[in-house]
């Protein structure tokens, strides 16, 4: 965005857009790079500068930039819709209805057009196949006596995705806060992030873990002794939405970039990288279910935003500090 | 010329120097003499420029070099200094110490490499350290360290040479040697030398002018002979001449000791200050000592110290302790012996002198 002076002269390039786009994301580095490379193949005149970090860091950085007077980011792509709701509420997002969004289920697109989901990441259960013979099919395995002390989950206090799951799961009728209380009673181990959950289960420290699907599927593919299970009650899903910052200084290029992500080509790339695409009609990668194959647990996003702090606080209390 | 005017130096609440006034002429050899803790090192440090005086000022060659507000740093003063604690650099060899001073001192900065090497050799030879040129300070004995400090200070022939007890760690033999070296450097370079010592022999032997200090104040500034023969204050009489101060009454040109009114002692150049306080200084070698009780002042031997050619006695006379030096050839006395003291021959001569000359 710093070199945004050129942005106005939408002209001579093959695609008609030029300039620099600052892309802030929490996607894995390699994935973000692949996406940018593919985009630049189509739009060689556009320079995409990537800043990648954890969702929390990215959000803090934008907040701090805002505080200091000038947001550098043009396009933002982080884990969950709630984060975008927050920025939307602070009126930091540009409203843009991408033509590509039509092929995406309405529930994953913000009605005001400030953000759109880019892929589907369900949270399921990862199982260590060396320790467990019979695959479970329900969340209840995590609260079952037989798995006492052998379960693990990411902390909602550190991971945005886990916080989302917390809010969604506690709003399900048959789960609610009792579910988390039972997890506590069952001596569930809490780690900082999904990566540590996978390590714990793969190494056999624990037998079951609550985990975002693609990590488990990828590990299984690479040969780790794990398997991913989608519980029958349904799974919470985050969509890694993408949005454009309101004060972007390269609106054209930003829009082109968002269009590309949502386009068929962009979605295929996501699938190749190992994620369930959000656009209808594109195959999910091996080991993952497509959107229509899974039973999605949902909750009202704007309500989740309001409830998040309270939920996290309550989580803190349930798992009370020592 | 160095002009020290009314300089006072305090360490916290402790006054180490008070109202010191001294003038040091170009080329003069000045010794600062005084007991331990009297402020000698402090005065020298002020001259070197390591700290500011609390009050008063120091002028060098007409310009103010130090006052309580400004300070000309040591490296701009064209000085050399021998430190009481040696202050050798542990990472440099003996030769490197001398070389360093030659290399950086204003007086010798432009010396060529060859001249410098030759000079290093000369200086080390002068202090007898040539064979140890490549040693590090940790490998030297106390006296050797002191000589390195000396060599470093004199190498560049500075205008002012400050020496803080530069010979205290040396044996007599070597000390004599070094004294001569320092004197000949003095003659060669016409540098002003300020030489701190607690050894009055050294001060008397070497200096043109001796400053006697006590408790941060100056007691007397005079040439060695005047100092020794005509002390101005009780302190100087005792410290420099090791005088016994006898109380009594001055009548015209002679002195009558209070407790021995039958004696009459002539005026050997006693200063007014002492006269006005009714004192007569007798140096230890002026006494004649005789075994047994006799015609004179009676006392008893307390200590006897053999000193080779002399024997030093401490004699208890009533409730005072007097010091008496005699030749070792005379018959030896033991502690406890009863003796009689009288003013000896050399004094009798002096007794006559004032009558003739004054």
């Amino acid at each position: 965005a710093c070199s945004g002076e050129e942005e106005a002269s939408a002209g001579d390039g093959g695609s008609g857009v030029t300039g620099t786009v600052d892309f802030y994301t929490s996607q894995p580095d390699a994935d973000a790079q692949a996406l940018v490379d593919a985009f630049q193949e189509k739009h060689p005149e556009v320079e995409v500068e990537v800043f990648r970090s954890g969702t929390e860091e990215v959000v803090s950085k934008i907040q701090a930039e805002n505080e200091a007077g000038d947001i550098q980011a043009d396009v933002l792509l982080v884990a969950d819709a709630v984060t975008f709701e927050n920025f939307k509420e602070e009126d930091m997002l540009l409203s843009y209805e991408s033509p590509e969004a039509e092929a995406i289920a309405a529930s994953f697109v913000d009605p005001d057009g400030t953000y759109t989901g880019t892929k589907v990441m369900a949270t399921g259960i990862v199982v260590n196949t060396n320790e467990v013979d019979e695959l479970p099919d329900s969340w209840n395995i995590l609260t079952d006596e037989s798995s006492k002390g052998k379960t693990v989950m990411p902390s909602p206090l550190y991971s945005g995705a886990a916080a989302y799951n917390l809010s969604v799961l506690t709003r399900q009728e048959d789960m609610g806060w009792e579910f988390y209380e039972q997890l506590k009673a069952n001596e569930i181990m809490i780690t900082q992030g999904n990566g540590a959950v996978l390590e714990g289960v793969a190494m056999g420290e624990q037998s079951y873990g609550m985990i975002v699907d693609y990590l488990a599927a990828r590990a299984a593919k690479e040969g780790s002794p794990v398997e991913l299970v989608y519980p029958s009650e349904g799974v919470p899903v985050i969509t890694e939405p993408v949005g454009i910052m309101k004060n972007t200084d390269n609106e054209e290029a930003s829009k082109a970039f968002v269009d590309f992500i949502l386009s068929e080509e962009g979605q295929k790339l996501a699938s190749e990288l190992g994620y369930t695409p959000i656009r209808e009609g594109i195959e999910a990668p091996e080991g993952l279910k497509t959107l229509d194959e899974m039973n999605v647990l949902e909750a009202e996003t704007s309500e989740l935003l309001k409830a998040r702090e309270a939920d996290k606080q309550q989580f803190g209390e349930v798992f009370g500090q020592e | 010329m160095i002009n020290i005017q009314q300089v006072t130096k305090k360490y916290g609440s402790f006054t180490a120097l008070e109202g010191v006034d001294v003038t040091i002429d170009r080329g003069e050899f000045v010794a600062i003499l005084g007991p331990s803790g009297c402020g000698k090192t402090t005065l020298l440090k002020l001259l070197a420029g390591f700290m500011k005086p609390t009050d008063g000022q120091i002028e060098m060659d007409g310009a103010v070099a130090a006052s309580h507000r400004r300070l000309l740093p040591p490296e701009k003063r064209n000085i050399g200094m021998v430190f009481q604690s040696f202050a050798l650099w542990p990472h440099m060899t003996v030769a490197a110490h001398v070389e360093f001073a030659l290399h950086h001192h204003t007086n010798s900065k432009k010396m060529g490499k060859k001249d410098r090497d030759a000079r290093v050799k000369d200086v080390l030879q002068m202090v007898g350290l040539e064979p140890l040129a490549q040693r590090y300070p940790a490998e030297l004995s106390g006296g050797q360290k002191q000589r390195v400090s000396l060599a470093r200070a004199i190498a560049a022939l500075p205008n002012v040479l400050l020496m803080d007890e530069p010979l205290s760690a040396l044996d007599v033999e070597l000390r004599m040697e070094m004294r001569k070296e320092i004197q000949s450097i003095h003659r060669q370079t016409n540098a002003s030398i300020v030489f701190v010592t607690h050894d009055q022999g050294e001060a008397l032997a070497m200096a043109d002018k001796v400053i006697v200090m006590n408790k941060g104040r100056i007691e007397q500034i005079a040439s060695p002979e005047i100092l020794y023969t005509q002390p101005e204050t009780e302190f100087v009489a005792q410290f420099v001449g090791k005088c016994n101060l006898i109380k009594g009454v001055w009548k015209d040109d002679h002195f009558v000791p209070e407790k021995y009114p039958w004696e009459r002692w002539g005026d050997s150049g006693v200063r007014k200050t002492l006269k006005s306080r009714g004192l007569y200084p007798v140096r230890p070698e002026q006494w004649k000592i005789d075994r047994g009780e006799g015609n004179g002042i009676m006392g008893r031997i307390l200590f006897a110290q053999y000193q080779g050619k002399e024997v030093h006695y401490t004699v208890q006379v009533e409730n005072e302790k007097w010091t008496v030096h005699t030749s070792a050839d005379e018959s030896r006395l033991q502690p406890g012996d009863h003796v009689t003291l009288s003013l000896g021959v050399s004094n009798k001569q002096e007794e006559l002198q004032p009558a003739i000359s004054g």
Partner: protein, 580 residues
């Protein structure tokens, strides 16, 4: 033959602006202080300001709100326990190790010294991982305990004790580094004097050696204290499962919260944390106030304590056991992971491959770029800190007044803040250093330089200051009366005498920058990724096998660098000190 701070205080008057008039000296002093204030304190003040600020008005509301919460107090309590516990442990381990290396006749000291640094340079998440595996249900400790009679259970690392233990182990090298040279510089004859006074070895140690080593122990202790306070990785890893929150993790949780008050709350917590850091600094001053230091003789590498052959072997064995367990075991754990194809597969030949290395160094261009960036950053930052930190230390040494203390506090604070918070401060400050003007520092590699210098300068300053305390003023005075001034005096006299101490501080800065993670993860921009960022990103995306491969290479490289350094220092001693 001895000097102390009061003596310096007296000479200070002449320095450092000796030939300038009294008034001007003050002006320079204030200008310098202002500069330090602007660079080091202003960014933090933005944060402090946030904590008092709500919708454009000044308020204490954030404080009352935060302080009303029970969890805040619990967090503070945890923090205090954790920091003091781990600092004590670090000081104990560091001092004992330094004493043994400096004093006792054991073989292989140089190599030992290298291994002492391992726990410090291996990323703490790796160390923690290794230790949790070591103590886990399937780990060797449990196996050993089961084999032993009695109902022994492996200690649970996911606890306050575990956190203290891990922090202490990670930061004792700081104390070691600062203390070992001070031990070596204690003149032997002081101990001989105690011995002839009839004091036994133990009494001499307690009444003489330790008090004289205090400047080193206190300096190292302060840095360990600050490092323990701002450490995020270990309490996050070990504290999360046990639900132990300390300020650094609590701030993180707050800062990532949403809503307009999140930053303000984090700011309030940061202020509390800063207050604790100040407390540590004050304790250090108190400790140092009474300490008096010895004149430099050169540092004396000869051992002073000889043991019988049996005891010597026993001691060597224990030291190596300790070093291997604390340094090598995590390293091997990490290296082993880096060769494995996927998590959880058995460690057999067919499961091993170089695939992770191949990815990191061949496929992913970021890693090598990051390595070169980090090396550059480390060298430049180290050089700047070496110069600036030593200059500041010199002023602090010459001038004990309030101003230099103030300056010291200013540069301490950036190191005490958790990395994330500090990075936010840097954004506040440098995106628009003057409101409305964005010079483009932020968003380029420059912001990293500035951030690193700001954050790590204190390390160099402490190192240099400790080195200065070991030098008798007469060393410098002798140089000046010999006519050496300014740079010559530094080059020929002060620097050679200071070198071991300076190198220690510089080494720390270098290593810290090379492996820095939290600050960089917010401040890097494309093209300026650092080693820490790359590792962090691998880690976060669940590619820990890549990160272990990368870390292994880095640690190996550092070890090699360390070996080179040993060679250098050996040469230095030979050349400069003639290796007595």
């Amino acid at each position: 033959m001895i000097t102390n701070q009061p003596i310096l205080e007296r000479r200070e008057k002449a320095w450092p602006f000796s030939s300038v008039s009294f008034k001007k000296k003050h002006v320079y002093g204030w200008l310098g202080l202002l500069f330090v204030f602007l660079v080091f304190m202003l960014p933090v003040l933005r944060l402090v300001w946030l904590s008092f600020h709500q919708e454009g008005a000044l308020t204490f509301a954030h404080y009352t709100e935060v302080l009303r919460e029970r969890s805040t107090w619990q967090t503070i309590q945890h923090t205090v326990v954790m920091v003091f516990g781990s600092t004590l442990l670090a000081m104990l381990l560091g001092t004992v190790m330094a004493w043994i290396i400096a004093y006792v006749h054991v073989s292989g000291k140089r190599i030992m010294q290298l291994f002492i640094f391992l726990p410090f340079i291996i990323p703490s998440y790796i160390t923690t991982l290794a230790w949790t595996q070591f103590f886990s249900g399937s780990g060797p400790v449990t196996a050993l305990l089961e084999w032993l009679p009695g109902q022994l259970e492996a200690p649970n690392l996911y606890s306050m004790g575990g956190i203290i233990f891990m922090l202490g182990l990670s930061h004792y090298p700081l104390v070691y580094l600062f203390t070992v040279n001070v031990f070596r510089k204690i003149p032997r004859d002081l101990e001989e004097a105690a011995a002839t006074s009839g004091a036994s070895r133990k009494q001499t140690l307690r009444k003489l050696v330790l008090p004289l080593a205090l400047p080193g122990i206190a300096s190292g202790g302060l840095l360990a204290f600050l490092s323990n306070l701002d450490n995020f990785g270990i309490p996050a890893f070990l504290g999360t499962p046990a639900n132990i929150r300390v300020l650094s993790t609590h701030i993180y949780e707050q800062a990532i919260g949403f809503g307009p008050t999140a930053f303000s709350k984090a700011a309030v917590l940061s202020v509390i944390l800063g207050t604790i850091a100040l407390g540590g600094t004050l304790i250090q001053w108190l400790l140092l106030r009474k300490s008096r230091v010895t004149e430099t003789v050169t540092s004396d590498p000869e051992p002073r304590f000889f043991l019988s052959t049996f005891r010597k072997r026993l001691l060597e064995f224990s030291i190596w056991a300790f070093l291997l367990v604390t340094g090598l075991v995590p390293f091997i754990t990490m290296a082993a992971l880096s060769f494995i194809k996927a998590y959880g597969v058995p460690f057999t030949l067919e499961n091993l491959s170089f695939k992770n290395y191949a990815y990191v160094f061949l496929t992913d261009s970021k890693a090598t770029a990051a390595l070169s960036n980090s090396l550059q950053l480390a060298f430049v930052t180290m050089s700047i800190c070496l110069a600036a930190g030593t200059a500041l230390a010199y002023m602090r040494y010459k001038n004990k007044g309030g101003m230099s203390r103030m300056a010291e506090i200013f540069i301490t604070i950036p190191y005490a803040l958790p990395g994330t918070v500090f990075a936010l401060c840097m954004i506040f400050m440098w995106m628009q250093p003057v409101p409305g003007w964005n010079p483009g520092i932020y968003g380029s590699i420059w912001i990293l330089f500035i951030a690193y210098v700001t954050r790590f300068l204190i390390l160099q300053m402490r190192g240099s200051y400790t080195a200065f305390l070991q030098i008798d003023p007469s060393m410098e005075e002798a140089a000046r009366t010999s006519g050496a001034k300014g740079w010559v005096k530094w080059r020929t006299i002060l620097l050679p005498l200071l070198l071991p101490g300076l190198v220690g501080g510089a080494l720390l800065v270098f290593l810290m920058v090379l492996t820095e993670l939290t600050v960089s993860s917010l401040l890097w921009s494309s093209g300026s990724e650092t080693v820490g960022v790359v590792i962090f990103n691998y880690e976060q995306s669940g590619y820990s096998t890549y990160s272990t491969a990368f870390s292994s290479v880095i640690v190996l490289a550092i070890l090699l660098g360390g070996l080179l350094f040993l060679l250098f220092s050996k040469l230095w001693e030979r050349k400069v000190l003639k290796g007595k």
